[in-house]
């Protein structure tokens, strides 16, 4: 039987005090879930989640306190926004976004905690092993995750995810309200653009490639590939290595971000 490897990123204040979920209380959590305890799920850096997947986790379960409660005011809601962004990114990488789940529990809700864990386990079992698990991970998805991770490390997505709350719930610097739709539109565009740009960068780090090569590799219209190459050339990430026939080949530059 498939026994998935699940990492639980759990808030200190959500984690039931019973140290072992398989202990004498008789309520059985999922023994294969490895809990990594943090003080608040707000701490969870999207890059860490993506790294966890690239190391072969079959699922990542994030558990924080029920909103609106949070030991640190709103760390849980920050985590929610980050998970939302991560799921959008995962859907671009080819790894199932359902392998990541966010849920809420209080430390007193041992039963709920166990149920959340078990339900997630069952769902991950239904998905099967991660393509990145085992001896022979799917190399393409691995590169996709690497690109997604780089995208979450760069300023653009960090600024947007960091600003989401004050923009959509309060006023922007002009004293205007920014609707969630308007924010999502800009944010989604940024997520997509930054993922693809980083994916191109990951690809040309390995060897010089043309627009056509990249278009085939990423299954993306060559027009858009070129536009993204223009953007990252202006950022100083890539340059033209050489021209072969009628195709310029692009290569990555060492960048200090």
């Amino acid at each position: 039987m498939f026994r998935p490897k699940i990492i639980g990123l759990v808030c200190n204040w959500s984690l039931p005090p019973e140290a072992s979920l398989t202990g004498p209380t008789g309520i059985r959590g999922y023994p294969k879930m490895h809990i990594v305890q943090v003080m608040c799920v707000g701490r969870i850096d999207p890059a860490i989640v993506l790294e966890t997947f690239s190391r072969g986790a079959d699922g990542v379960l994030v558990i924080g306190c029920h909103p609106p409660d949070c030991h640190y005011v709103e760390g849980n809601l920050q985590a929610e926004r980050k998970v939302k962004m991560l799921k959008k990114l995962l859907s671009l990488t080819g790894l199932e976004p359902e392998r990541l789940r966010l849920d809420w529990a209080y430390s007193s809700e041992l039963e709920r905690f166990a149920k959340i864990s078990n339900d997630f386990r069952d769902h991950v079992i239904s998905l099967g092993p991660s393509p990145l698990a085992g001896e022979d991970p799917d190399f393409n998805i691995l590169l996709n995750i690497e690109a997604a991770k780089a995208a979450t490390e760069d300023f653009r997505l960090r600024v947007l995810v960091g600003r989401e709350k004050e923009l959509t719930e309060g006023e922007n610097v002009y004293g205007e309200e920014v609707s969630q739709e308007k924010f999502d539109e800009i944010n989604d565009e940024a997520i997509k653009d930054e993922y693809i740009r980083n994916r191109i960068n990951v690809a040309v780090k390995r060897r010089p490639l043309s627009v056509k090569d990249l278009s085939k590799l990423l299954d993306l219209d060559s027009r858009f590939v070129l536009r993204h190459l223009v953007a990252i050339r202006q950022r100083g990430w890539v340059t033209v290595d050489r021209v072969e026939g009628r195709s310029p080949l692009y290569t990555a530059l060492e960048v200090r971000r």
Binding site: L167, V173, V178, S215, S222, R223, L226, R246, P248
Partner: protein, 1006 residues
């Protein structure tokens, strides 16, 4: 009536508006320059190269942008638009609305950190949408003013820019504002709107990615453009193997109502094809689909010949019918008809040469200003007042008056500046500011005490170079008594601090290590001067462009290099000497050579501004070429205009006319010329500050087509004479174009002959509608709005039949019957036509006296033997030698209105000198040690500016520098075999000190 105001408003900051502003500001008037966008520069800033010299557009424009931005008498109002005008010529009250930039222009240093951190992207309109930019942006890196702006449409208001801006320049609450300006005259230079190629749906623009407009293609060609100068297909980033250029997109198109010709597209199309071929490393085929090649400007036909010959560009005489895309390859199929055969050809890319439309808000502007527009909604003007709008006191230049290229826009801009200045010449100098400085400290005898200021430039430098470490290092260098680092050394508060530190530490040399001296040296020189130091005691090290930017990923090496750069410049600074800028007195008098329309116009304009003018004409009467013109296209009466201008010139007591006179000798230099005139054998000497060459041109006397052998063969002027004097009678008239032009003897196009043929054809049809008129032409070059008359002639039944060099018409005469045998290209056969009159459109040829005059004035001629200006694009009426200008047919064949514009332009350029009592020359110039000079004249031979002369002194030949003319290039110094010439501020010692220090560390404590 209230007093006039010594200020002018210029609307539009493209190359025309910039030129007009500079000319006015340099002639003693305050200028407000309003532009709708966030920076000046206009469309020229987007161009890659310019025809016919293939100069880099930005490289030649940037100095003008910088000069405009820092001119003490020019106030830039960006994001502005004129909303209303009250008052009258000489005294207007103009309301200007300024859109908020959301940035404090005083505080923004243009460092760009905000744009790097902005999370929102917008379409980069400067790159024509081929790339993205941040929602906080400058249009392009060289933008003037270099102040960022928030794209309020895209900005989501996240506040990041404010947090990262170290200059505290972001102001989200900045509101739109309105200002009322008091000005005496107004110049309109709002430019043009590029034609929207989507309106020509058959060419697929907007649907097919590989169909691009010519402006997009400029960006594609540009090394600073989206593709880094590689020519790429937008569909797949591949280098194309062939490109089709489709001309007249949005021009000469009755269906769209744009009947006019946009006048520049033939040339820029060829230029883009040439540059594309130069950029593509492998073979690239270019084909240009055209109706007529209109290469009517100076040396344009030579460019056309190069495009065809040297570059192998294929010219297809056909208006392309449509373009379709092969969806599998994104290649494009161009459908067209050539030689009556339908054809289809596949290309990798298609470039649409889009025409010029009137500016988008032309109607609003016209209403706000109360001026008239023509039928195409360009500004209404008139041939004898080409820079005047329908409202007195409001003038126009550039493509708003008619589509035109850059040199004509620049010339017209100077012309408009002249008119604007004449109106308010009584108020010259009343609103300009002359700055007061403290006396200069005497520091020559002191040991060097050097202060060094190292700039972080936000994080531009500081993010890579360890600036504090550089400062600590600099403190160890000999003679450095003070060093510090600044977030922005260029900010206002740092200037104050620098002045204080100069005093406090008794500094006598100052070094700034920051960005480029090109933009910032004037600012720092100003600062040290305010602190009582001579400006030449300042030096700069460029540790941004030459260090942190190029070594972005090697911080340690970059820090070391910054130290090396500063050490080297400090070594030079130790040897700096204070220099004096020579002051040259100006004789406020002009000499105008040539009494034709151009010369008279220039003379009158200068006289109107209060300057004395000597007008020299070699004939016995004034009028020149205009005396042979009886009527024009349009309703204006040239005879009346000629009479009126001669009367004005004759009556004006400031204009001294010398008829039947020639120049026999010229001495001196700008501000101080002495010229000897030969007035019918009698010598007269005059003193003057400037020279305007307006000596006109001549008409070619044909030897071909039986001219002179059969009295039915006339030139167009002779035909015009007959038509005007009621002596015309003919059943058939045949006209042959390009007689004496575009051939081996005169390779160039004489520009006006096509319109002249159209003019005479229309006159014939008016007087005698039943007369058959044939015009045999190579290309009809009725550029701009002249195209309307070509249309009118065709619609009145004038037959226009094309010939090429292989099938030139032949003329025979037998028993008094004159026959023209012409090739009919549609039915593809030779047909003989019996004609009563054969009119030859003869070439305009350079004045044979040009050679002699050029020698006297020491100015060059072009290879066609017309006078050659300082720069074909941006200095169309200046010679390289200061104080000498040119206009009219002496420069190139041109129309009446172009001659008038150019004459006014020459006068405006001259006025920038005559309006000053003294000129301040450059201080860093060559100096001759007379004891060492051997009088060999090598220096004289290499000087491009005639600024060094060898003359006898105390019985020996000695070179001496004419300070007023020396530009400080130093070529003479590096040529002198005796080591007698030193180049001040760049002496051998100073350069070698820099080199030695660059190669060897010499820190005090090593």
């Amino acid at each position: 009536m209230r007093d006039k105001v010594g200020a002018a408003l210029v609307v539009g900051g493209g190359v025309a508006g910039i030129q007009a502003s500079l000319d006015l500001a340099d002639s003693g008037f305050r200028v407000y320059l309003v532009d709708q966008s966030s920076s000046v520069g206009g469309v020229m800033a987007q161009l890659d190269k310019t025809f016919p010299t293939n100069d880099c557009a930005m490289c030649i424009l940037a100095p003008k942008l910088v000069a405009t931005g820092r001119h003490p008498n020019i106030t830039l109002i960006t994001n502005g638009e004129v909303v209303g005008v009250k008052g009258e010529a000489g005294n207007f009250e103009v309301k200007v609305r300024k859109r908020s930039r959301y940035i404090n222009e005083e505080k923004c240093n243009g460092c760009g950190l905000c744009a790097q951190k902005c999370p929102v992207e917008a379409v980069d309109t400067f790159n024509e949408g081929l790339s993205a930019k941040s929602a906080i942006y400058v249009e392009y890196p060289q933008a003037v003013p270099l102040k960022f702006m928030i794209d309020r449409e895209r900005c989501i208001g996240c506040g990041t820019c404010k947090e990262v801006c170290k200059a505290e320049a972001i102001e989200y609450d900045q509101q739109d504002s309105e200002a009322t300006l008091e000005v005496g005259s107004i110049i309109l230079a709002p430019g043009f709107e590029p034609f929207d190629a989507r309106l020509k749906g058959e060419y697929g623009y907007g649907r097919f990615p590989n169909v691009v407009t010519s402006i997009e293609f400029e960006r594609i060609l540009s090394a600073s453009g989206p593709y880094g100068g590689l020519v790429l297909r937008p569909s797949d980033g591949e280098i194309p193997k062939n490109i089709a250029f489709i001309q007249c997109v949005g021009s000469r198109d009755a269906h769209l109502g744009n009947n006019y010709c946009s006048a520049a597209c033939c040339m820029y199309g060829m230029k883009e094809a040439i540059i594309a071929k130069e950029h593509v490393p492998t073979n690239l085929e270019c084909a240009i689909f055209y109706m007529d090649i209109r290469a009517h400007g100076k040396e344009f036909d030579a460019y056309y010949e190069r495009a065809r010959g040297e570059y192998g560009i294929r010219f297809v005489r056909s208006r392309a019918a449509s373009v379709r895309e092969n969806p599998a390859t994104s290649n494009l199929q161009v459908y067209y008809v050539e030689n009556e055969e339908p054809r289809l050809e596949e290309f990798d890319m298609v470039v649409l040469s889009i025409g010029m439309q009137p500016p988008k808000d032309a109607e609003r502007l016209a209403k706000a200003l109360g001026i008239g527009l023509n039928r195409y909604k360009f500004c209404q003007t008139n041939p004898f007042s080409p820079v005047e709008t329908s409202r007195p006191g409001i003038f126009v230049c550039g493509s708003f008056s008619s589509p035109k290229d850059i040199p004509e826009s620049v010339a017209q801009a100077s012309g408009a500046a002249m008119k604007a200045a004449s109106l308010i010449s009584s108020e010259r100098g009343t609103l300009t500011t002359a700055k007061e400085y403290p006396p200069e400290k005497e520091v020559s005898d002191e040991d060097p005490r050097i202060g060094v200021f190292v700039c972080h430039c936000g994080i531009n430098i500081g993010g890579v170079v360890n600036v504090p470490e550089v400062v600590e290092y600099v403190k160890t260098l000999p003679n450095v008594v003070y060093a510090e680092h600044n977030l922005y050394t260029c900010s206002q508060d740092t200037q104050k601090k620098i002045r204080e530190i100069i005093d406090e530490h008794s500094l006598n040399r100052v070094v700034v290590a920051s960005c480029t001296p090109r933009t910032h040296e004037p600012l720092f020189r100003e600062t040290v001067r305010e602190a009582g130091l001579n400006i030449y005691l300042f030096e700069m090290a460029n540790i941004r462009d030459q260090c942190s930017w190029v070594h972005m990923h090697e911080p340690e090496e970059a820090t070391q290099k910054a130290k090396d750069l500063v050490r080297s410049i400090v070594a030079k600074a130790r040897l700096l000497k204070p220099l004096k800028k020579p002051i040259i007195a100006v004789t406020p008098t002009a000499l105008v050579i040539g009494g034709g329309l151009s010369g008279m116009t220039a003379a009158l304009e200068l006289a109107k501004q209060g300057f004395e003018v000597h007008l020299v004409e070699k004939e016995k009467e004034l009028g020149g070429h205009l005396r042979h013109i009886h009527y024009l296209l349009g309703s204006e009466d040239p005879r009346e205009q000629l009479r009126s201008i001669i009367e004005k010139v004759t009556k004006d007591e400031r204009v001294h006319i010398y008829l039947h006179s020639e120049i026999s000798d010229v001495e001196g230099y700008v501000g101080n010329f002495k010229t000897t005139l030969d007035c019918g054998g009698e010598k007269t000497e005059i003193e003057h500050g400037i020279v305007i060459v307006a000596t006109g041109a001549e008409e070619y006397r044909p030897t071909e087509f039986l001219y002179g052998a059969d009295e039915k063969v006339l030139t167009q002027h002779e035909l015009e004479e007959k038509l005007a004097n009621g002596q015309f009678s003919a059943k058939t008239v045949v006209m042959i174009q390009c007689v004496g032009s575009r051939n081996e003897e005169h390779a160039y196009c004489s520009r006006m002959c096509c319109s002249q043929a159209v003019k005479n054809s229309l006159k014939i049809k008016e007087l005698s509608p039943e007369t058959d008129v044939y015009v045999l032409y190579k290309d009809m070059r009725t550029y701009g709005f002249l195209e309307d008359y070509y249309h009118e002639a065709a619609s009145k039944g004038v037959l226009f039949i094309r010939y090429d060099d292989e099938r030139r018409p032949r003329v025979t005469q037998e028993k008094g019957i004159l026959k023209v045998i012409m090739w009919e290209p549609v039915i593809k056969t030779w047909i003989p036509v019996e004609t009563d009159i054969l009119a030859l459109s003869v070439a305009t040829i350079p004045n044979p006296n040009n050679e002699q005059l050029a020698k006297l004035l020491k100015v060059p001629l072009s290879k066609d033997r017309f006078f050659l200006e300082a720069h074909m694009k941006l200095r169309p009426v200046d010679f390289a030698t200061e104080g000498i200008f040119l206009c009219g047919l002496a420069h190139w064949p041109k129309s009446i209105e172009e001659s008038i514009s150019q004459a006014c332009a020459a006068a405006a350029r001259a006025a920038t000198i005559l309006s000053k009592t003294t000129l301040e020359a450059e201080g860093a110039i060559a100096r001759v040690d007379e004891d060492l000079c051997s009088g060999c004249k090598f220096c004289e031979a290499v000087c491009e500016y005639s600024a060094i002369k060898t003359e006898e002194k105390d019985g020996k030949l000695r070179a001496h520098v004419i300070e007023a003319l020396c530009k400080g290039c130093g070529v003479c110094g590096s040529t002198c075999p005796m080591g007698a010439i030193s180049m001040l501020h760049f002496t051998d010692d100073q350069i070698l000190a820099q080199v030695k220090a660059a190669l060897k560390e010499e820190a005090k404590h090593d």
